[in-house]
Every structure is written in C-alpha cells, then in structure tokens.
Symmetry: C2
Subunit: 401 residues, 2 copies
C-alpha cells in the first residue's frame, strides 16, 4: 500500500505533525538546571517586588515638597539624620527638612517620597545642601512596581532563558515545574549503511542521519535514544520499531532511500497505527512519512542527510515543540536581499540552502544529498509553492541555521 503519489502541502503536513504532538508529563527540577527547559505551569509572584520603596540612585531621601525652590544659586539646607544600611529595616519616619543617605538599591524611609542624586548636593558638616528640587517619586521604585504579589509573571510553555531564570529567582522559586524531555527513538534503515566508525567499502555509506537527528532532538529539548542501523528487512525493522515504541514517546526512522524501502516503513507503521501523510510537496524532502503507532508519532525521513535535515527543521520540529510543551515558536529569520535568481517549480515548496555574503543572499546549489551544502550555508530560503522562483534584488526571509 503506497500513498506516495498523494503529496500534500507543507502547511497541511505541519498541521498533521503538530496534531500528533501531545505534551509529555511534567517534573520539578532545580532552578540551577532549568535553563533551556520549558515551563510546565504558569508562575505567579509570591511577594511584592521590590518589597519596599527602593532608591535607584546613590543619594538623599527627602520629602519632595520640602525641596521646592531649591536651586544652584539658592540651595535648600537639609539635616542629615543618618545613612541607610543595605538590607536593613529602614529608619522609621523621616522628619521634615531632613534627609537620609540611601545607596542605590537601599530602602527609602517612610515619609520620604523621592531621592535626590548625590551629584546635585553638597555636604556641609551635618547638613546637606540641595541644588535643585525633586519631583514626587523621582528615583524611587515603589513597592510592587516590578512584580505584585499574586501577579502572573510567566506562562506555561515558555522556554526558560537566563531572563526567565532571573524572574523565577526573583519570585522565590527554587524547584521549577518543567515538561519532561520527550524520549525520541532514532532508527536508520538501509542495506548500504555502516556505522560511522567503519570505513565504507563499495557503495556502503556511513550512517550520518542517526547522529544528525540526535543532535536536532537535543537542540529541541528532547532525549535521543539510538536504536542503530537496520537492514531494509521487514521482520528486523518491525522488531526494532516495536522496541523503540515501547520505551520512547515518538520514533524517527530515516531512509532507506529507495521507493520500496519507504513503503516498508509505511507498511510497518500501518500495522500498529496509521500513515497520515506519505509524500509532501516539499523539496528536498518529498518522500516523508507522518504516522502514528498507537498514539505515538512516527516520522519517516528521507535517507539523504541534506533532505532529512530540511524535513527535521520544517516538519519534525513543530511536532517536537508540541511534545515539549512550547507550542508554536517561530523560526529566527533575517530579511535580506537576494543576490542571485532562485528558480523553482510551481506547486511545491522549495527550501534552498543559502549563503550570506556582505548582507546579500546567494543560493548554494548542489546536487541532491550533498552534506557539504549544509555546512557551507548559513540558512534556508523558502520558495512558496505558488511561485516559479525568486528574483535577484527581492527581499527574502532567511531561516537562520
């Protein structure tokens, strides 16, 4: 049974892939290990932050109304009643016409509503001369101005970068609820494949896809489980696929590259589930399979590494993002001018590897399956299926590697 001739659009394929991605369970990990993980619950602030009115400069806390009229030529005099210690409890209520030295980050005492920067003052014994007035609230961060107690500060599904780690620390979270990393089985099929450690004889080829696929999985927040190389042999592949499905949340099978082998993968998926897509209007990557075995997603990649990589990026990545709980994340793109025409066939989406030179984009043409085009390029340009190519001088969005 081959559905291969019924190719569907990239959008449809991505939608189908996404629909298979149910988020795996969650776990709690230490704040120090949370960077790069995906938040599994919404996070609220436990307290007002800051918990006190805080000075944002080194200076003197005052009642702003006492400073009216102060100027360079006629400074106002204030009595210095002390210095605030960092982390201390404040100083009670500030009397009129008095001031208190407060360092950056220190607490502004009750009664005071502004801090004048030390640069606009002069010290005369026990007294401080103010050379300009301050407005109410000037140089003061109010209690709760950063985050209010109970305020939602981060949403589930957020990837945790150093900035979110900072916010989690601010609201006192030391154990962070994150989605469990999905385990994804990686299988390479093909009679021509040999392990990377061996030297190819005749038309043998090293198994590149297992490791490339594993690296993509790691970069997307998954744990690759390697099931090695199998021959294009039904009972062997069936056994390995079942084994992989029994311990993994999803499976990615790459190759073989002949039409027959692709049918083998599709047949095996059908035995325990359903082939939803077999053939996508995408170049490279047409012979891609999207299916499920039970409720677990199974993706069949083309055998050529360069094609497999494009499919991992464009089709598998959205699925993995659903599984890791981060939902729909845009790819990072850069808008640049095309330096050379890119021809393309109407009716399929082309993903052309491109190089960026002096701010212009040039296609890296190369025969099908060359690995060197991957490492010599800077990204991909998508040529939509409705057009017959892109012209020099056009703006294009480069999907950066």
């Amino acid at each position: 049974m081959s559905l291969f001739l019924t190719t569907i659009s990239v959008d449809e394929a991505v939608k189908t892939a996404r629909s298979l991605g149910t988020t795996v369970s969650q776990e709690e990990i230490a704040l120090s290990s949370a960077c790069g993980r995906i938040l599994a619950t919404d996070i609220k602030s436990d307290i007002d932050i800051p918990g006190f009115n805080r000075s944002s400069v080194d200076g003197y806390a005052v009642r702003s109304r006492d400073t009216t009229g102060a100027s360079e030529s006629l400074p106002s005099m204030f009595r210095l009643i002390g210095r605030v210690a960092m982390g201390g409890d404040g100083f009670g209520n500030l009397p009129s016409d008095s001031c208190l030295y407060v360092p950056t980050g220190g607490p502004v005492p009750e009664g005071a509503d502004a801090v004048i920067m030390i640069e606009y003052t002069e010290s005369i014994g026990e007294d401080i001369l103010l050379k300009r007035p301050v407005a109410p609230g000037e140089n003061v961060v109010l209690r709760g101005e950063d985050f209010k107690a109970g305020e939602e500060i981060l949403r589930r599904g957020t990837p945790l970068s150093p900035r979110e780690i900072a916010a989690l620390a601010a609201v006192g979270r030391t154990a962070i609820p994150v989605t469990r990393k999905p385990r994804v089985g990686v299988i390479s099929t093909g009679n021509e494949l040999i392990p990377v450690s061996e030297i190819p004889v005749g038309s043998q080829v090293r198994d590149i896809n297992s490791w490339m696929c594993g690296a993509v999985l790691e970069s997307t927040g998954c744990i690759p489980e390697y099931f090695g190389i199998t021959k294009d042999d039904r009972p062997t592949l069936r056994k390995i696929l079942q084994n992989a499905l029994s311990v993994c949340d999803a499976v990615i099978i790459s190759g073989g590259s002949s039409k027959d082998d692709r049918d083998l993968t599709a047949d095996l998926i059908s035995e325990s589930g359903e082939v939803l897509v077999h053939g996508i209007s995408i170049a490279p990557g047409k012979p891609t399979i999207i299916g499920r075995s039970g409720q677990k997603p199974v993706i069949g990649l083309p055998g050529h590494p360069a094609s497999a990589f494009v499919v991992l990026l464009v089709i598998a990545r959205p699925l993995l993002q659903e599984m890791t709980g981060q939902g729909d994340r845009e790819m990072v793109t850069k808008r640049l001018t095309l330096g050379e025409n890119i021809p393309s066939a109407r009716g399929r989406e082309d993903y052309v590897r491109v190089r960026i030179r002096e701010g212009r984009v040039y296609p890296e043409f190369g025969k099908s399956g060359l690995v060197n085009t991957l490492i010599r390029s800077d990204g991909l340009v998508r040529v939509p299926s409705g057009v017959e190519g892109l012209e020099e001088g056009e703006f294009v969005e480069v999907i950066l590697w």
Copy 2:
C-alpha cells in the same frame, strides 16, 4: 583606589575583556555528546565522499552517448542487465546499449556516466525504452564530489550544530576534539541579599544574579560554579574570591550596588592582579569592572539584574567566547523599523530593552533594575555613543534575546 570616574568606551571594554580570554584545554568526547560544543582542531575528510559514483534518482544507469536522439516519438531501446543492490559492490563494466536499474543513492556502474529517471522510461519485457537523451553526468554525484579525502571540512573554533555533527559522522569521527568547558565561579555580594528560598524582610532582596549569571554561563558553553552570597566584608569576600579562583578558570562577582562595595571588589582584584577597567560608558551597566587575578579574568557586574544582564551579554559574552575557543561570534540581530523615539545621552552607548509588535520596535522603558523589563522585552537596541537618540521610522538592528 577608585578608577571609577575613568569610564572607557564599550568597544575598548570588549577588547580588554577579549584579551583576557585564553582558550582552556581540549578534550575528546563522543559524537553523540558533541552538539553545542566548540571544535578544538581542524577536521579533514578521511575518505572520498561519496566513495563511488552515486545515483541521485531512481532510474537506469546508461552510457550517455548511447541515448543520443532518443525521444518520446522514437524511443531508444536498452537491454536491462540487472538491478543494483543498495550497499553492494557494483556490477563491473556496463556494456553499450545496456542499462542497469539503480535506486536513489545506489552505485552507478563503471562505463555508465548518467542515470535516466524512471519517469522518462518504459519497461517492455527485458528491455527498457528511453524517451529522451541524458547528458554526461546527469543525475550522478561523482566520487569525492561531496568531500575529497584529505579536504579540510571544519575549522577549529566552530560551534557544533546538528549540521556539523552530520559532517563529522560523514568523515568517520566518533571521538570529537572539543574545547573543555571553562569553569566560571559565580559570587554575589551585598548585605541586602538573601537566598532565593527565603522570604525577604525589610529591604532584603533575593539573590537573582547568581542564577541568571549561571544560566548565561551555561548558554555560552561554560560550567557555572556557585559560591553563594557574601556580605560586603573585605576578609569574607577575599577568602571566597581566592577559593573561587583556585578552582575556576574565571570569576564573575555581581553587586554590591553602592560605590563603596564596588571599590571593595576592585581593591580585592588589585591585591592579586590588576583592575583594567572600572567604569564603562554604557547604560545600563556603567559600574562594571574588568580585571585579572594572576592570569584569570575577573568580571565585576553591577548589582541590578537588568543591568547585570546587559553587561553579561555585551561585555562578558565576548570574553566567554574567547575562553570557549569560538572567537568572535556575531549576535543574532533583526533589522526592523522603530515605532517610537528612543532618547539617549551623547557620549555613552545605551542598550534599550525593546518589544517587537507587528514588525515594529518599541522601547520598554522602565526604572533602573526592574526584572519585568527583561521578560517583557524581545531584545536590545543599541544606541551608539555618538548620537542623541533614535527616531521613529528609523531602521534599527534588534539584538534578539
């Protein structure tokens, strides 16, 4: 001793920071663990890849000169002498006017110099009709066309993404020479600081910077070593700094936020080395220290998380990149139109947190040190020191988070 008033430009500061970054030693790790690491040596291909002339389509290998004149109306007839098996050894020399079925990725036999796609042929018993001619080399990837034996394919200093992992697998590398991850000590100073797990009382503040800093270190390929919170107390900080320096390749100290505390950090660095920079014309982040203790870099960050983060990105990151051996990597930026004026003071480089809405860039103004501006923004816009601000409608490069 305070050098604080002598601020230097951001460019100078980055140059100084970079100059302190000597690459740490290298180690060999498994291919499966190499994604995200930095290559420590140049890598050459051990063999020709492919190791044979490879078909890039499913079709029939032929001598191209035998196909001259073949057309839809007058097909040429070829004798099918067999089918190539994937991974097999080929078929000896192909006789004239004969053809051999070769699947995508299969070996093209000696004598043949082209493969005609199966779509342009018809099978009649033992014979195959060709309905068009093929050019020499058509649909054949020549031996060594991807990589030649001995060809340099990757350079030391390259960060290993899935694409480089693919290339390393192709050339048979299972043990990858990468730079050792630098260990960087993280110290937070400030009498006001308490551990994240505690609830602040009075003007106490949770230690955000240790964890934010650690997350930045991890994202940059370093290993953070946490030395906790210390009071702004000379003997205590001296002891912890010495301890950190004895086990780490570099140390980052954040806070305290008052001028006195900053002098304490600078004094302690001077005791065992040299303060090279104390004050940078950058906002936020002016009170930054760059120094060395012996030959080990020590960076003093401002205490406010939002300021510390900008300094980590703009000043510390280039240093860490040198230490990890990846040299000068550009930050990922996106060119977009400014939706609102950004005022700035001439003579200092401003890094303004911005939000991207419908393709336009809006500054996220917020008082100094607010953590919420970090998680509510999408990146930074740099306002160069020579200008007094940026105007609505201008193109700006957004440094994406």
